[in-house]
Symmetry: C2
Subunit: 376 residues, 2 copies
């Protein structure tokens, strides 16, 4: 019970408890956490939910208890991975057991994750609570845990750096191995193999390898198209390592790039560099987006940069903060996000460059080593 000895997980649970007391409409006495990354962030429990309809467990957090509710498939794993939590094994679905469990807690105001809970489960719970003798009010947590996850602690920064370095080494190796005639699928598989042998738990998202005209599609899926000289080849990939994700993009050329691609490459690189240099605590996410967008606009390619500049990265590949033209967020020390401007010319091709950067007390640190970047 010494307050100074707190693991990262205990510290996080305590931070959530504090936020629960500050909830605007009601003093939330219990928070119910079902979202897999939030669950892992608070408890250390690593299990994945194989489908949205199949939960491997959830957390119930009050001011004095921290309970991980799971079923017999996961009891041992939960006890090992989440030692700060009491593990409660239930036999029926949580929606059925929850009213009774919350009865033992004396819960009156339950916070739930409205962005993850389905309408159906909400509806069933509401009915069960209505039928129960004691009244329980349900309140959406409004991204309470997602907001905490925006700022990475030291452990998380290290994990993200490791994940960024691994994908960076992989892309360096693959870049050196590219040859005309290889297919996009072969290149994607090469990345995937190196991820596995490099110790990654998995890819953090399906790898994009897009060559020639396919590079004009920001979310291209690898095809049997063969790589050719002079055309852009976009590699966009990431790994999950110790739970944390990485995400980076390089646009590569075999032989001499065609002049038009050199031209847009230089613009994208300049836009990216300007955005990274603009990052610092207290700047708005929209201002950073604007730094890059303005350069692309002024070069006459504004209509060909159709997506946001970047997104937060952590336990999820895409998380807060978003760096885009809308929804301003004040950047803070400890945030980690991608900076990934691109120019995509339909049917011709595109260029995208993506780094992962961490916001430091005075600026930004690039976590993805700056290799494989052309300096035309």
């Amino acid at each position: 019970m010494t307050p100074h000895y707190t693991t990262g997980f205990r510290r996080r649970v305590n931070a959530l408890r504090k936020r629960m007391t500050l909830y605007p409409d009601a003093h939330l006495d219990t928070a119910w956490i079902i979202q897999p990354e939030n669950r892992r962030y608070l408890s250390g429990f690593k299990a994945a939910d194989t489908q949205i309809t199949e939960s491997s467990g959830s957390l119930l957090i009050t001011q004095d208890r921290a309970v991980l509710v799971t079923d017999s498939r996961y009891t041992t794993q939960a006890q090992t991975e989440a030692p700060e939590f009491e593990v409660l094994t239930i036999a029926r679905s949580l929606a059925k057991e929850l009213p009774d469990i919350l009865g033992t807690f004396g819960t009156r105001h339950l916070g739930f994750e409205g962005g993850h809970l389905t309408w159906e489960t909400y509806h069933r719970l509401r009915e069960a609570f209505d039928a129960a003798p004691r009244d329980v009010e349900l309140h959406p947590l409004n991204n309470m845990v997602e907001d905490m996850r925006e700022i990475k602690d030291q452990t998380e920064r290290e994990a993200l750096t490791d994940a960024a370095h691994l994908i960076s080494r992989i892309i360096e190796t693959v870049a050196a191995d590219l040859r005309p005639g290889m297919t996009e699928k072969e290149v994607a598989y090469h990345i995937e193999s190196l991820a596995r042998t490099g110790g990654a738990e998995s890819l953090s998202f399906p790898t994009i390898v897009a060559s020639g005209p396919n590079s004009a599609l920001p979310h291209a899926v690898p095809t049997d198209r063969k790589l050719k000289e002079g055309e852009p080849i976009i590699l966009d990939a990431g790994v999950r390592l110790n739970g944390y994700c990485s995400d980076m993009t390089r646009t590569l050329f075999l032989g001499t790039p065609r002049e038009n691609f050199r031209h847009i490459y230089k613009i994208v690189r300049k836009a990216q560099s300007a955005a990274i240099h603009a990052i610092t605590p207290s700047i708005l996410s929209t201002q950073v987006d604007q730094m890059a967008r303005q350069i692309i606009d002024e070069a006459g390619y504004g209509e060909y940069f159709g997506h946001g500049l970047g997104h937060g990265v952590g336990l999820a590949t895409h998380e807060a903060p978003k760096l885009g033209p809308r929804g301003p967020v004040l950047l803070k020390e400890g945030m980690v996000a991608t900076v990934e401007p691109g120019i995509y010319i339909p049917e011709m091709g595109g260029v995208r460059l993506e780094e992962m950067v961490a916001v430091t007390p005075t600026g930004a640190e690039v976590l993805t080593p700056n290799q494989n970047l052309y300096d035309f």
Copy 2:
């Protein structure tokens, strides 16, 4: 307009239209399909949703229109893959555009997927409709499309058989390659590599390789533990091929299995065989579960079989019907499900055997060839 010439997708859309008119509380004039497997089942559109919060599109189906709503990243893919659908490209989030689109349809009663739509999106839509001039009632579709997917048509049966054969060949190869000293992760990676080179789009779920005491965890994640002689090694894997999933499990031994494992292996095998032989149209799912469970109970291991006997397989790895001790469902010709009893003794080890079976007019057909099964 010849009624005899209908593709599988058009037939499915028409079957849904019929069900919409039979909805109990209201005549549903529009169904909104967001669940990725349901979307693919009805339209052919193959795109995945990379995260639950990121949709690649959804379907709006009325008695005379079939529209696939997507954004510019997916327009071309949608037009190619879903030729029976009008493709509508939108720029903002669907929750924002939906009220206007439904206005052009004259929608009054919208069916939505309550098991997939989040509370938050539902809530936002409800508010948007309340603010709109025309009233739209929202009705949960109550698994309307999932129910259709329970019975597989001939094309689906063939796709499932292909996927079952591929994972079966892979497990046969891997079983022959197993050696003491290999790690669980290496074995899992071997399975994954063969899946890729064998033409699979992806694994249908993260591969389980669990050796020794790890085999006592039904949902074990592969570790760096080295395989040893005499211990059980559970391989549980599946592939997605042409959209359809497979799922099978073998428990293997290097050298001579220890006597206790031979003993539980024989019980599991007997339980599985009894369940498969019991399957036929018009038997209840709970009765099939009971056939296996009773054998394990009577052998004194009832408490070590903590999960249901099996689950339907199709476009999703886990879908209806569930074969478990609760929730009786009448089996019907054309259903495809796993039969996977197991006995798991904590800290010692476990045995699980899993086949995919199709319900035929007179019994069950095993889709996973019966290799790598010991006959002690």
